[in-house]
Structures are given as C-alpha cells and as structure tokens.
Amino acid sequence: MNLSGLEKKLIAAARTNPPGDNVPYAFEKRIMALLPRHPVDVWGLWAHGLSRAAALCVIAALLLGAGTFFLPAASHPDNLSQDVETTLLAAAGNPTADAAAESE
C-alpha cells in the first residue's frame, strides 16, 4: 500500500471537510449562568496577598530589630561564655544534686 499517498488523501479529506461551527441553542445563556459575578483576577489576588505578607514581615523585622537595639540586654556579651560554662557545669559542681539523683 502506498502509505504516503494514503496520508496525503487523508489529510486532504480532513481539509475538505472542516468541522461545523453550529452552536447549541441558548449556549451563551448557559455560560452566563455559570459565571461568577465579577471576573476573578487570580494573579492579582496572589500579588495582593504577597504584598500584604511582605509588609507584615518588614514590620515584624523592624520591631524585633528595635527591641534588640533598645532594650537592655539580659546578660552582657562579655559574660556569655561564662554563663554557658556555668549552666553546663551546674550539675557537676553541685554534689548535693548528684547525691539526690543517685538516691532516686
């Protein structure tokens, strides 16, 4: 069978018989009944949400920054290493706590 000839014939058949453009009765009414009241701009909503979230993040960052800068520090940075050491070695340096733990 001549396959390229068949292909040409079939493509020609499809070209000479374009599909119909008839529309079912009152189709536009059906579409109108399905539509929401206003067009929904999905990207606009997304962008609006993102901009609000960004504004909240900036406000939170500013408040935290101001808090860190202006509020008195609970411990001076110079004593930080000393504080860590004291906390870690608290149990080792407290024999009564060790004894209590062993008796339990």
């Binding site: 396959l3 068949l6 292909e7 493509i11 058949a13 000479t16 536009e28 539509l35 929401p36 009241r37």
Partner: protein, 191 residues
C-alpha cells in the same frame, strides 16, 4: 451602534458581567469549530467550549488588548483542547480491525484504484478521525494545526505557547508517528 470588543471587555472588567454575553455569542462558533477538531462526542465539545469561556472570564484581566480578542481567545481554546487531549489520552488505544464497512470499502478502493478513492467521501473523513485519535496529544495537535489547518510554525508557536524549535521537533515526530500509525493500519488490514 454596536459596542466594540474592547468596550465590552472594559465593561466586564468594571463589574458589568452581562457585557460578556455578546462576546460569547459572537465567538462561540469559532470556538466550537476548533473544539470539534479534537473531540468527537458533542458532550465533550460542549465541555471544552464551556471551559474555554469560564477560563476566559477568569483571565480577562490578563488580556492586554495589544492583539485582537479573537487571537487571545483562540490561544486559550487551543491550549484547552490540548489539555483535553492529554486528559483523555488513555482512551486512544484501539485496533484498526474495528473499521466500519464504508471505511473498509474506501480503503479497498484506495488500494485497487487510488484515483477513485475521493477525499470528499464521508468514509475518508471518518478514517482520518480514527487515525488522528491514535496519535499522541502533541502529535495530533501539530498535525491538525500544521497539515490540516495549514498554519505556519510561528503561528503554532504562538497558539500553543511552545518555542519555534519545539514546534519543529514535535512536527517531525508527529509526521513519523502518523506514518507509523498508517503502517499499522496497512498491517492490520492487509497482512
């Protein structure tokens, strides 16, 4: 005087949803004709067209107006049809042994006297539908736009959103797929 497309679109965007109805009435024939190239059952065609109009209403704000509304709508239609083909691609597996009698007669005539097998015959039309249904979604879309609707590669790129090189690659593969499909048809019927 009838309002222009741009005026109707502006009215819809300003909250007058009723202005969308004349657009639906004006362009539905074009959308239906396109959808019928990709779906056979009328219920499927109506589903595609309905989806096109709902999407176009939702995305109307993204229509910039630098090209005619019809072009924008046709891009949306072609992409919706492609989504339909991809969603229904599992149903396309079928054998050519299920040809109808007129289709078999037309093929027989083509084999014996090719010049007598006219392309205007209803059987030829049904047969080409059947062959197109066997193709993968991108192959069917490209063959329809390039060979049947006689569109350029650039136009297809605009309609589908694919790049020009991708359209060319898919056109090459689609032609190969079509040949393979016709070879299968010949094998099923005459070997």
């Amino acid at each position: 005087m009838e309002p222009t497309d741009a005026e109707m679109i502006a009215a819809v965007l300003n909250g007058d949803a009723a202005s969308f109805e004349p657009l639906v009435a004006k362009y539905s024939p074009r959308v239906f004709a396109t959808a019928r190239r990709y779906a056979r059952r009328e219920s499927e065609v109506e589903d595609i067209v309905q989806e096109v109009w709902l999407k176009s209403f939702q995305k109307l704000a993204s229509f910039r107006g630098d090209a005619p509304f019809e072009h924008w709508l046709m891009r949306l239609t072609v992409r919706t049809c492609y989504d339909f083909l991809r969603a229904h691609q599992r149903n396309r597996e079928m054998s050519f042994s299920e040809l109808t009698e007129p289709e078999e007669d037309w093929l027989e005539r083509f084999v014996t006297h090719p010049e007598e097998a006219g392309e205007t015959a209803a059987a030829a039309r049904q047969l080409v539908e059947r062959v197109l249904e066997q193709l993968s979604p991108p192959a069917r879309l490209v063959i329809t736009l390039l060979e049947i609707e006689d569109r350029s590669v650039k136009e297809i790129a605009q309609l589908t959103g694919w790049s020009v090189p991708l359209v060319k690659v898919r056109a090459f593969r689609a032609r190969a797929e079509m040949k393979k499909c016709l070879a299968k048809l010949a094998k099923d019927k005459y070997m």
